[in-house]
């Protein structure tokens, strides 16, 4: 079994998702199937191969550091679920992580 019920629950926390019992069942089966398929990659010899993290070989792209006008605060806050006109409001994070 490539992935267990427990692992699915643990990963759901890491990914900040909350799955119902039913969803966890389905997810375990589906991810299991997918991960089994991924084992195909074990066939490939990649010992001497450099990973390809960027799609295009561009380097050293810099910004000229010209100060530009920021977004007006009310525009920035316009999409906020909760705000007080100055800051975004969230449930307390004291001692939270």
């Amino acid at each position: 079994m490539p992935i267990s019920h427990q692992q699915v629950t643990r990963v759901s926390l890491l990914g900040r998702l909350l799955l119902s019992e039913e969803e966890t069942e389905t997810m375990t089966a589906q991810l299991g199937q997918i991960l089994t398929y991924m084992q195909l990659l074990d066939e490939v010899d990649t010992d001497q191969v450099e990973p390809m993290a960027h799609a295009v070989e561009v380097s050293d792209v810099f910004r000229g550091d010209q100060l530009a006008p920021s977004l007006a605060r009310d525009l920035a806050l316009a999409n906020a679920p909760q705000h007080d006109g100055e800051c975004y409001r969230v449930p307390a994070v004291l001692g939270d992580a």
Partner: protein, 478 residues
């Protein structure tokens, strides 16, 4: 059992470039909340980071100033974790390929022995937003201000080379001086441009294995760092002594209770190379060019002060610990003030006065020129030390030249022997008892008499001349 401590430090330093690391918003976290944000640093859907050249240069200079080796190839990674101060759920940092490796600072341990505190690496990363905690009615809420999100930081990670709080403090002071010299940051713990976390573990004295470490955060000054480390060493030692295991976790320093308290651990997510910020490839030439831009660093400057101005090692170290202080000192000497006098008056009078007024040397109204003028009057005996101190205070109130203040306050010293002679005669006549004491060998009466003369002169008499003349007069009559 005796324990020894193994301490490593992680220092975050806010660079003083004009814009944020990945967008053109102003790098001014202290402005009104959420005024300095844009779709990029708010990480709206569709935003793409653009790396600041100024930030790279300031970071590189800082690394070179610390003797670290710039890595010709470095890149950004995504450090994923979920927290309201992180607008896109990952922080752009350099976990795999940092900007520089190695370097270090020479410090002295408690016994005065020189020791090298090594740096493991230095990397760039973006700062996170600021959270403010409030109570609304009975509900605790947190408010998020994204002005600081995206501000350019470097993080310096040291090797666990420190054994005592003293060493850590020495290192931080020296580091602060070096960073200020390079000009990459204000580097002040008081305003958040320098932040320190400490990793502490203990082991039996003389052992070589390292035990589980504990991370301590929330220390707001260099002194707090020392206090927190000392407390934590004690706490862990007691723990181990009692047979308890030390677990890997994070603690917060409580400056009021003076203890460290456990904090719920942050979920550390994965770290993958960021595909949107292109790799940084730095040539030998670029690195050499950066190196040529380094100013004279503190240690070199201190050595020069000893050689050039005849100051003691301690004095030179003190002056060179801050570039503004060193610069001010040299401006005074350039105006002809004797080095020892300049040092003394700068250290014991001017700097404390500035600190009291919560000003900074570079923006205080007391310029080197005005201060030098005052000190010149003192060295020429035009005023005495007390008067000089008085005038100094008044220099903060406006931009009058010191001479004008001296005259306005009537502080000019009286050195005229005739005028002083008359006063001395009066005092000697009036204080027969003191004179009699002197005749009986009580030397203290001399000081009393001088004091009386100073009083009679309204504080304006030149005490040296008074002593001289009084001595002559007494010699004559005793």
């Amino acid at each position: 059992m005796e324990f020894e401590a193994v301490i490593g430090l992680e220092i975050h330093i806010e660079l003083n470039c004009p814009t944020k690391l990945f967008c053109d918003c102003p790098n001014r976290p202290g402005d009104e909340p959420n005024r300095n944000t844009c779709p990029t640093c708010l990480w709206f859907p569709g935003a793409i980071p653009r790396l600041s050249q100024a930030a790279l240069e300031k970071a590189a200079l800082l690394c070179l100033g610390l003797g670290a080796e710039i890595q010709p190839r470095n890149a950004f990674d995504q450090k994923v974790y979920y927290y309201p101060d992180l607008p896109k759920g990952y922080q752009l940092s350099q976990a795999h390929l940092p900007l520089a490796r190695g370097g270090g600072i020479e410090i002295t341990d408690e016994n005065g022995k020189l020791k090298r505190a090594r740096i493991h690496h230095v990397h760039m990363e973006e700062d996170v937003a600021r959270l403010v905690h409030e109570i609304e009615g009975r509900t605790p809420i947190s408010l998020v201000d994204f002005n600081r999100a995206g501000v350019p930081l470097v993080e310096i990670v040291t090797e666990p080379d420190f054994s005592t709080p003293h060493e850590a403090i020495e290192f931080l002071k020296a580091l602060r001086a070096q960073v200020r010299y390079v000009g990459s940051s204000e580097c002040s713990m008081e305003n958040g441009t320098m932040r320190v976390d400490a990793n502490i573990s203990v082991r039996p004295r003389g052992a070589s294995e390292m035990n589980t470490k504990v991370e301590v955060k929330n220390m707001n000054s260099i002194r707090h760092v020392g206090d927190a480390i000392a407390h934590e060493i004690g706490r862990q030692s007691a723990s181990v002594q009692a047979g308890e295991a030390v677990t890997l976790h994070t603690r917060l320093w409580d400056p009021d209770k003076k203890v460290t308290l456990p904090m719920r651990a942050k979920f550390e997510g994965p770290c993958i190379p960021d595909p949107t910020v292109p790799t940084i490839e730095l040539s030998r030439e670029w690195i050499d060019d950066m190196r040529s831009r380094l100013p004279e660093m503190p240690a070199t400057r201190a050595a020069r002060f000893v050689a050039q101005y005849g100051l003691s090692g301690e004095e030179a170290a003190f002056l060179s610990s801050d570039p503004d202080t060193a610069g001010f000192f040299e401006a005074l000497t350039a105006e002809g003030i004797a080095p020892r006098m300049a040092m003394h008056w700068l250290a014991t009078q001017l700097l404390p006065a500035i600190k009291e007024r919560r000003q900074e040397l570079h923006n205080a109204p007391v310029t080197p020129g005005r201060f030098a003028a005052l000190l010149r009057m003192l060295s020429q005996d035009q005023i005495n030390a007390n008067a000089a101190r008085e005038v100094l205070l008044r220099l903060f109130d406006g931009d009058q030249p010191p001479a004008a203040i001296v005259d306005a306050c009537g502080f000019r010293q009286v050195s005229d022997p005739e005028a002083l002679g008359a006063l001395i005669d009066k005092v000697v006549d009036a204080e027969a008892a003191a004179v009699a004491d002197l005749r009986n060998g009580q030397g203290k009466a001399m000081g009393f008499l001088i004091g009386r003369v100073m009083q009679a002169s309204g504080g304006k008499a030149n005490p040296k001349i008074v002593r001289e003349l009084l001595g002559k007069k007494l010699e004559a009559i005793l």
